[in-house]
């Protein structure tokens, strides 16, 4: 498996005919497309921060499509998920949407609809991946702070003045100013406002 994280469509279906035919269809319009016979196989090779779209059958022996989607959520995966079901199960669909599935398609799937959904999912995945990278970056910067700097950062983000921070942490205002300077430097921002914007950007598309 290549470790470059270029956008890929992943097909997970236990039925070889369905799997291969989907690869043939999706591959035909120029997407990179990889297929797996089970959810477990797919998870084994999934790279965090992967851009792409997952097309998964809801019913499979072993881990089902819904189980897989849950697992991806838990892993904060940035893939777009399209769950295909042949059974038109409304409660199942409701659960899929609530758990954050991108799309839910009923069989027989119209190829155009599928490809459109894949396209949308890929776009969202790119955005999500970017956010994921951003968040990784912010987290990495924050990880470089000392414990005391980290405490100061939390209070700065909370909008407290230096005097209050000094009294809260039971240190001198002077010391607070030194920590604050180091925090700004390590986080790559110049002001408390910029710092607040940086954290809010990590929350995703929705403000």
């Amino acid at each position: 498996m290549t470790s470059d994280l270029s956008p890929t469509v992943f097909v997970v279906d236990d039925d070889p005919a369905m799997r291969d035919s989907l690869v043939f269809l999706i591959g035909g319009v120029g997407y990179a497309c990889t297929a797996f016979a089970s959810a477990e196989e797919f998870l084994a090779q999934l790279h965090p921060g992967q851009t792409g779209c997952l097309v998964v059958d809801v019913r499979m022996p072993g881990m089902s499509g819904l189980d897989l989607q849950k697992e991806l959520n838990a892993r904060n995966a940035t893939l777009g998920v399209i769950i295909v079901t042949g059974h038109g199960d409304v409660p199942m669909a409701v659960r899929a949407i609530r758990d954050g599935a991108v799309e839910f398609l009923e069989k027989p799937v119209n190829d155009q609809v599928l490809l459109d959904k894949i396209n949308e999912a890929l776009k969202r995945s790119e955005a999500a991946t970017a956010l994921w990278h951003h968040r990784e970056d912010v987290n990495a910067r924050r990880a470089s702070l000392t414990p005391r700097e980290s405490d100061v950062l939390d209070l700065v983000v909370a909008g407290k003045p230096n005097k209050t921070i000094a009294s809260d942490l039971n240190i001198s205002v002077k010391t607070v100013e030194v920590h604050r300077h180091n925090v700004m430097e390590k986080m790559g921002v110049r002001s408390a406002v910029e710092l607040a914007r940086l954290f809010s950007s990590c929350l995703g598309d929705n403000p």
Binding site: D15, M18, D111
Partner: protein
């Protein structure tokens, strides 16, 4: 003691007998009671005159054998038979015809034959005279008697009729049929002559010598009648139309002791002619009398020889009627049995046919029901390749519209064909399975049935998360079965096993095949919860089911199918949990 009939010897015999009787008389006088010897005499019916009177004979016996008291009893013809049959007499004197009959019927035997002084020879004494009126010139010979009116005293008389009958028979004339009439006028004999004389009859039959006696008595005139074929034998001195036959015998009965008979015979032979000229000589041969009877089929021979079948039938009509009724009853019974057998056979065949049709209908319903239970799985199995086909086809279209090279399209087209064939084969299989058809038993490899069924069923099972495990030895025998029926049994067991696994964590269905001595055993076991006690006891009951969508026919029909193939189907709970259903099939001997 032997006494020959010679004249000189007779005297000697008489002397000896006299001496003997003296001795006996002395003994008899001494004895208190003298034994009685009864002599029966049958009255002659057509004989008048003194010849056949036996007073002299009785005197002779009484004097010759004084140690006995001789009693003579007179019987008519009918009573005489009763007397002889019931042994009321010790000796009997009767005419030759009566003697012959009673010899045959009661075993009497002659010890002497009567002889008349100046009379005919004892062996040639009796004949018949067949006569007509002297003026009947048209009747010259016996042949002329045909078609004439006959008259005689009575049909049972020997000389008075039978001998004449025999003579006529020798000339081809049956007096009963070949004459205009045959009249029996009864005694006395004069009536016969009178009937012929007055022209009421043409021909008369009478015992020999009556004519001469009547002429001598002046009753008739000699010139009035003419004998037919008549002759006058020298010693007889009378006209006869027939040969002559022996004279009357003196006979002992079967119960009479030989010693007494011998004494009586000696006394008789020693007897000088009495006043009627009667004396006794050694018994003559009565064979000629018997041959008369035999020829005429009368007397002791009345029941012999071929007789008119109609006569036999009419004589025995009660028996014939009973036999015919019996035969008719047997025939009617046979016909009825035949009819009933045919009717019942037909009914049985109809019932068989109907039962078979019912069974086929039921099996068909069960197969449909089984298909129904598998319907959603089957629908998926069919929609899967169809969806794949759509995907391939769309993929091809997009490649074509975007001007991709043909090499990229080709694999998609090939896959379309593969998937279409897959869908078709599933549909065909289903159609084969649910089609109504008569069972066809043929030798099949058990492996083929098993593996093809599993190939069909495996995706259905796996779709429900159930793993199929199949184990079979390499060498598998051939069985003689109806393929579809055995597939039905297998599918039933597999579907039940998969349904049973649904709620379990481990979902496995194992199919094992083992070879026994003369059969193969196929077992399907699951990892389900096993059967409840109720389910186990009602396992093969029709319409008993634990599934909401089931008909409850699967196992009951599976069992009848297996049993119709000569095998058994049993179900049991496994110790490790789960259910195992096993059925056996006899191995084909060919």
């Amino acid at each position: 003691m032997m006494c020959s009939p010679g004249r000189r010897r007779r005297f000697v015999c008489a002397l000896i007998l006299a001496l003997a009787s003296l001795v006996s008389a002395t003994i008899g006088a001494v004895a208190d009671d003298v034994p009685t010897v009864r002599i029966g005499v049958i009255t002659p019916r057509d004989i008048m005159g003194p010849e056949y009177s036996w007073g002299g004979t009785l005197d002779q016996l009484s004097s010759a054998l004084p140690q006995y008291r001789f009693v003579m009893e007179v019987f008519d013809r009918d009573r005489s038979r009763d007397a002889v049959e019931n042994q009321k007499v010790d000796f009997i004197i009767g005419n030759p015809a009566q003697y012959v009959e009673m010899e045959a019927d009661f075993g009497i035997s002659r010890i002497a034959t009567v002889e008349f002084a100046d009379g005919p020879a004892p062996s040639s004494a009796i004949g018949s005279l067949i006569f007509t009126r002297a003026d009947r010139t048209d009747i010259k010979t016996l042949d002329d008697v045909r078609g004439k009116r006959l008259v005689a005293i009575e049909s049972v008389l020997f000389g008075g009729f039978s001998l004449g009958w025999l003579e006529l028979k020798k000339h081809g004339i049956d007096p009963f049929h070949d004459t205009q009439s045959l009249e029996f006028v009864g005694e006395p004999v004069e009536k016969v002559f009178a009937t012929v004389a007055d022209g009421s009859a043409d021909v008369g039959i009478a015992r020999t010598c009556y004519f001469e006696r009547l002429v001598a008595a002046g009753e008739i005139s000699a010139g009035e009648f003419a004998a037919i074929d008549g002759q006058t034998p020298a010693r007889l001195g009378c006209l006869t139309s027939t040969p002559l036959y022996p004279d009357w015998p003196f006979s002992k009965l079967s119960h009479t002791s030989d010693a007494l008979a011998k004494q009586v015979a000696q006394a008789l032979l020693a007897m000088p002619p009495d006043e009627n000229g009667v004396s006794w000589t050694i018994p003559v041969d009565y064979q000629p009398v018997q041959s008369v009877f035999r020829t005429l089929k009368i007397g002791p021979y009345a029941d012999l020889g071929p007789r008119d079948p109609w006569q036999i039938l009419s004589d025995n009509w009660q028996w014939v009627a009973a036999a015919l009724l019996g035969l008719a009853w047997v025939l009617v019974s046979l016909a009825r049995v035949q009819y009933l057998v045919r009717l019942r056979t037909q009914q049985l065949n109809d019932a068989h046919l109907m039962a078979r049709r019912e069974r086929e209908n039921l099996e068909h319903a069960a197969r449909l029901s089984l298909m129904g239970e598998m319907a959603s799985s089957l629908a998926h199995e069919i929609s899967q390749p169809l969806a794949a086909i759509v995907n391939y086809a769309r993929g091809c279209q997009r490649r074509m519209s975007s001007g991709t090279r043909i090499e990229e399209i080709e694999p998609g087209m090939a896959q379309i064909v593969v998937q279409a064939e897959r869908a078709t084969s599933i549909v065909r299989r289903m159609r084969d399975f649910v089609r109504k058809r008569p069972p066809v038993v043929a030798p099949v490899r058990i492996r083929e049935i098993l593996e093809e069924t599993l190939e069909f069923f495996r995706p259905l099972a796996e779709r429900q998360g159930v793993l199929l495990i199949y184990e079979a030895p390499d060498a598998l025998p051939i069985v003689n079965v109806d393929r579809i029926q055995i597939e039905e049994v297998l599918l039933n067991l597999l579907q039940n096993a998969v349904d049973a696994c649904k709620g379990s964590d481990v979902r496995q269905v194992s199919i094992t095949l083992s070879i026994e001595t003369e059969s193969v055993l196929i077992s399907v076991s699951d990892t389900g919860p096993g059967m409840s006690e109720e389910t186990r006891s009602r396992l093969f009951e029709a319409f008993y089911t634990t599934k909401p969508e089931g008909l409850g026919l699967g196992l009951s029909l599976s069992r009848s199918i297996v049993e119709a193939h000569g095998g058994r189907l049993i179900g049991e709970n496994l110790d490790a949990g789960g259910t195992q259903m096993s059925f056996s099939l006899p191995v084909s001997q060919e």
